[in-house]
């Protein structure tokens, strides 16, 4: 196992906790807005680390770029999705918790 493989594996491992933290936030936070915070931030970092790790692991530039593309698409989807849900919730008059 080469060094890049090891590093890649480590990065993938490092990404995992973020997924779990996101789910934890999803389950524990009190309202939709705070849950959106948890979701939009953690999962994408997790996925980013997984992509980065796998890119190193694959050892191929092209595969790495494809993984980057997938990550960027997912980023766009979550950032825009979180914003859309948050704004619509506000426009519909859903009150944030604790305000």
């Amino acid at each position: 196992m080469s060094l890049t493989d090891l590093l890649g594996g480590l990065l993938v491992l490092l990404g995992m906790p973020f997924f779990f933290l996101g789910t934890l936030g999803l389950l524990r936070f009190p309202d939709a807005y705070t849950r959106l915070h948890a979701l939009a931030k953690t999962d994408n970092v997790g996925l980013g680390l997984v992509c980065l790790g796998l890119a190193l692991y694959s050892g191929s530039w092209l595969t790495g770029l494809k993984l980057l593309l997938i990550w960027l698409l997912m980023l766009v989807a979550s950032a825009a999705g979180a914003g859309l849900i948050g704004r619509t919730a506000m426009a519909r008059g859903m009150k944030p918790w604790g305000l």
Binding site: A32, L73, R92
Partner: protein, 102 residues
């Protein structure tokens, strides 16, 4: 290394299963929708890992398609389903969503 990845796949799947509790509990439609968005991120991660475990590049394409379409459900939800659900809620005093979205 693939063994480690396989364990991670399992953990991610477990992560999804645990997250299903949010779909069960809601309470509002938005909560369920964002839970489903979380699942697509996890599913993409699972597919990427599987692509390397099984050494099967087509799975990257499956992940790509999932990532590309992740926004569609949210946009439909925001644009069509939710707006109508909620605007109707004010008209009819009690409905499924009104009971749930407090």
């Amino acid at each position: 290394m693939t063994e480690v990845f396989a364990v991670l796949v399992l953990l991610l799947l477990l992560n999804i299963v645990v997250g299903l509790a949010r779909v069960l509990r809601g309470p509002s439609a938005a909560d369920r929708m964002l839970a489903s968005e979380m699942f697509s991120t996890s599913a993409v991660a699972i597919l990427l890992l599987l692509a390397f475990i099984l050494d099967s590049p087509p799975l990257l394409d499956v992940a790509l398609v999932l990532a590309l379409l992740a926004a569609l459900a949210v946009v439909t939800f925001v644009g069509r389903a939710w707006s109508d659900l909620q605007s109707r809620q004010s008209e009819s005093a009690r409905g499924m969503e009104s009971r749930e979205s407090d």
